[in-house]
């Protein structure tokens, strides 16, 4: 007989793995689909100190993102959730049986939990894509040390821009934070710390409109949003390059769901408190939905709720 998965989970970060653990434990036929690697954004984090129970790890105090994810994967598998490496590229969600079209195969499922997460928002300027990893970076812990004694621009006026900007002063000669508006959008206590830091300069009302370079960032165009004045910033001739770190928030991974499921104006999947979307049998969990706090613990919580609701729905709809 053709396999119909009970709970198909798209995404293998904390939300998807937690959903997999709960659904597997409920003895449902559960599959977690992952695009290329497990973990989501948390794998770039070296220290995860705020997940309850994560602090003391064998022999050392901190748990790294990858270690935490590896344990979540083991746990979900232990309870019977299956992992399939396939990128889901299209979905048909409105029928009683949902269809997921992957790059490798097509799958059928009674319920679907969308947990594909979010990725760092791009500036969307010419040169950004070509020069990613060549001076443009979205991961300070990965790439910060390359910029030892170099200049770095941090783009953004929120909490992550200020935090990452301060982190980058450990390496960079000078960090210039480019804020789009005339003030930061994060807590004043954080702004005070930034303003006190001698290695940080802040340019308000400023944005980057273009990044240039042949194989490495060599210059960028800065535009004053009030006067409209544009200036080109060049790398120090001797050193030849500098860094650009955009931290301007996140963007949900929902392009394949456009016109198929209700999204808010930022592209997040709208759910109610039970993680139910506007389509029966389809749930969303983690960073893919609008929420106040984007953390491992809240993603895991969403996943647990979504799986429990999916279980209830299957019971009523298919076995009732």
């Amino acid at each position: 007989m053709e396999r119909i998965i009970d709970v198909a989970i798209i995404g293998a970060g904390p939300a998807g793995l937690s959903a997999g653990l709960y659904a597997g434990r409920a003895k449902l036929d559960t599959v977690i689909f992952e695009k290329d690697r497990v973990g989501g954004q948390i794998v770039t984090t070296q220290e995860v100190a705020n997940v309850p129970g994560s602090l003391f790890n064998e022999g050392s105090v901190e748990t790294t993102g990858p270690k935490l994810i590896a344990r979540m994967v083991d746990q979900a598998e232990e309870f019977g959730a299956e992992r399939v490496m396939d990128e889901i590229v299209d979905v048909v969600l409105d029928g009683e049986i949902k269809i997921l079209k992957g790059k490798k195969a097509e799958y059928k499922a009674r319920t679907v939990i969308l947990a594909a997460g979010a990725f760092p928002r791009k500036l969307g300027v010419p040169g950004e894509k070509e020069l990613t990893g060549k001076g443009v970076s979205y991961c300070a812990t990965c790439d910060g040390p390359f910029f030892t004694d170099l200049d770095v621009f941090v783009v953004g006026g929120g909490f992550s821009a200020t935090e990452e900007g301060m982190y980058l002063t450990k390496f960079a000669e000078k960090v210039t934070i480019l804020v789009r508006d005339d003030k930061f959008s994060c807590a004043q206590s954080v702004v005070d710390k930034v303003e006190k830091n001698e290695k940080i300069e802040v340019m308000y009302n400023t944005e980057i409109t273009e990044i240039k370079g042949d194989g490495m960032v060599e210059s960028c165009i800065l535009r004053n949003r009030v006067t409209g004045e544009e200036t080109e910033h060049f790398a120090d001739e001797e050193i030849g390059t500098f860094g650009i770190f955009p931290f301007i928030g996140f963007q949900p991974d929902t392009t394949i769901f456009k016109d198929k499921i209700e999204l808010d104006k930022w592209g997040y999947i709208v759910t109610d408190e039970t993680m139910a979307t506007n389509i029966e049998g389809v749930y969303a969990a983690g960073d893919i939905r609008p929420k106040q706090l984007r953390q491992v613990v809240t993603a895991a919580s969403d996943g647990a709720i979504a799986a429990t609701m999916a279980e209830k729905y299957i019971e009523e709809k298919f076995h009732g």
């Binding site: 290329d36 990893g133 991961c139 812990t141 390359f146 390059t241």
Partner: protein
Amino acid sequence: MKLLDKATFGETVLEGTGVSLVDFFSESCEPCKALMPAVEELEGVYTQLPFYKLDTMKARRVAIGQKVMGLPVIAIYKDGAKVDELVKDDATKENIELMIKKYI
């Protein structure tokens, strides 16, 4: 994968002949560590070319000299020159395998 340092990278890769693969990583780069087992698996399959890894924090100038300023990077070298690479999100097991197949 054989670990290279700034001295052996020059001797082995830049002055070497034939095709080789280099995994640029660092101890503070968690995505690099998450990717490495997949690269090691491919090493077991594609024995036609040597696989090396370079800790970029111990060879920062070498890495920058190779225009590597963001991690992870999986690169293919041919006769001492970098001929192909996969950077950051593009560096997936699937893409690495496709890249290797182009050069063997």
